[in-house]
Symmetry: C2
Subunit: 377 residues, 2 copies
């Protein structure tokens, strides 16, 4: 049953969070607002543009809040995600951070470029740039050169290839050279700050050689976009990026909470995303079973942390598609009790739900669609 049909009558009712059917994806409205404001202030203070990654939240509502706080627009991972956010309205500037290569997807890109005020995409291959150039037939499409920071996932492999691709983009009348994208995915989750800073400084020195080569070749990068929640403070201090693609800071998850983001142990961002689950069986010693398993929590990031509802020292263990266990010697938990979990990894957890349930304390205050849920193509 649609969540709005199921839960809309609970909006504004004191304590109504406890009456939600579980498992349910919950946003703490105040924590979300503080995370958005803190990052916006940080970017403004450091003179860097903010383009938060929408792959984390897939939500037009969250994107609008980020833009209202000063973001230049958002990033999307795929053309489908961009289409959904554009259709929802309120998001006029989107950068698609992964190459769009198939003919049907490029045709959709051309259509979206006409519909949206400001659309950009990355490319890492001359054949792809040629196909993009061929397909655009109205407003020029902005194309960024994606530079591989050593992950070997996407991006050109050398400064020479970056220059060649930038020149191919500049030579096409239907394209516009946007600049360079550089995303150090492997470095985001290094837990110790100093180790992460050294790794990023080394990679940023490489990025600088790419930027120097472009400049020398007469194709300087107008925008240098990249970075993430794990490295944004280091990126800003190094001063090479002109635009930050931070995503997870809006919600935070167990993986990022394990990282020292500032170097002094301060935690500028709060856990704003949770999953509430309910005890549905309590017959075994030292564990109870809750109604959240592989279909309610992403499994790539290990088990979720327990935020509340279970005693200190209790742990979550996956029990298959539909169930999890709260393991504790004497949890005192009984049938119907609610346990609140921190998502292990936000992005793929959000992708499992059709709606966010927005709360203030224990009261449901709104229900927001996960606008681009499932839009991975």
């Amino acid at each position: 049953m649609d969540d709005r049909r199921l839960h809309a009558h609970l909006i504004g009712q004191q304590g109504s969070r406890r009456a939600l059917n579980t498992p349910v994806l919950v946003i703490d409205a105040d924590a979300l607002a503080r995370n958005i404001a803190t990052m916006a202030a940080f970017a403004q203070e450091h003179g860097v543009r903010l383009r938060p990654h929408a792959k984390t939240h897939k939500s037009a509502d969250v994107a609008r809040l980020q833009i209202a706080a000063g973001a230049a627009g958002v990033c999307c991972a795929k053309i489908g995600e961009a289409e959904m956010l554009a259709e929802a309205g309120g998001v006029g500037s989107i950068l698609i951070t992964s190459p769009v290569v198939s003919p049907p997807a490029i045709a959709r890109l051309a259509a979206l470029n006409e519909a949206l005020a400001d659309l950009a995409v990355v490319a890492d291959n001359p054949a792809n740039v040629a196909a993009l150039a061929e397909a655009m037939n109205g407003k020029p499409l902005t194309v960024f050169v994606d530079v591989d920071p050593g992950i070997r996932r996407t991006g050109v492999a050398s400064p020479t290839d970056a220059v060649a691709l930038a020149q191919a983009i500049r030579a096409a009348p239907s394209l516009r050279f946007g600049g360079v994208q550089f995303y150090c995915g492997s470095q985001q989750h290094i837990e110790a700050f100093a180790e992460r800073r050294d790794a990023i400084a080394e990679r940023t020195a490489y990025l600088q050689t790419v930027l120097d080569a472009l400049k020398e070749a007469g194709s300087p990068a107008p925008i240098v976009t990249g970075g993430g929640t794990g490295t944004h403070r280091i990126d800003a201090a190094l001063g090479v990026f002109t635009e930050l693609q931070v995503g997870s800071y809006v919600f935070m998850d167990r993986q990022y909470n394990d990282c020292d983001l500032t170097g002094d142990g301060a935690a500028p961002y709060e856990t704003a995303l949770m999953v509430d689950a309910r005890v549905i069986s309590a017959n075994a010693k030292a564990l109870v079973t809750i109604d959240a398993g592989f279909k309610a929590l992403a499994t790539d990031g290990g088990p979720p942390a327990i935020i509340s509802g279970a005693p200190e020292g209790a742990a979550f263990a996956f029990m298959g598609d539909e169930h999890g266990a709260i393991v504790a010697k004497d949890s005192g938990l009984t049938l119907g009790d609610i346990v609140t979990l921190a998502s292990p990894h936000c992005d793929p957890t959000v992708n499992l739900y059709d709606y966010f349930h927005v709360v203030r304390g224990d009261t449901l205050i709104d229900i927001w669609p996960v606008t681009a849920r499932g839009a991975s193509r």
Copy 2:
């Protein structure tokens, strides 16, 4: 963009599978039909009732095919899944295989019991049985006693508790005692047949003591339901179950393909579910990047197997939320090429998609909604 808007024009066009936007969840129509027919014939031959588990496919279309082939109805994991399949029509008999405990969910159960021809649910707790009895106020609800086979996930913990619960159900005028559910989840994936058979024989001997205790107490179980794809041939040979809850046989996945289901190495069921993905970057040595990651493939079952599109010996590796790598010394793969993967674990992979794309060979022949996608509550 909605898959039907995106792809409906390709239905019936020769070779149109290659034109689908990727990643895309694909059903081989003929393999699906053979799997359904083979299991139906097996059940009929062994005089056991079939009630396939719909948590695997969440699809009204697949459920209707199973029922047309002789299934008595389907199982659902959660009340939400049952609501969606009931609303879609063509499914008149549903057993919910996990306890429904919260007051709002029990209210939905009461409503569904009025709407559906034949609804049943399991219970493992006297307080839950009392709550169910209190909430039903029209047609009696059928309730099965869920017996824990030693997983400690759900189920009563002893024959004595089973008898007490059966008697509580029988004592409630608004409830009807349906029988016993016994699901040996831990044994389903034991790869060697003989080892799996011995484990199930031992567990079934325990089940028999539960059934004997019920009979002695004057509450014999009308139906004994359980079993799965991994054990159904053993379950049928042991002859204790009267109804089989097999799920994964319709699609098969990498995990079940690793199991010897028959004891003689025969593979009675075929891989009918696939994910087609596309190469979107090819700049690195010994690997190319495809557009399927954590949001396109369940991660709890390890990496998917490669069915076609890459040379012998190539392997898949996850590369984050949106990407995967095909690792091979010289794959010959280039931008836009398609690689077909076998889902590592069907159920949570299906739950990531809104639609199945049904193919015969390389031609798209239909698009079916994943009726109960996301309905985990």
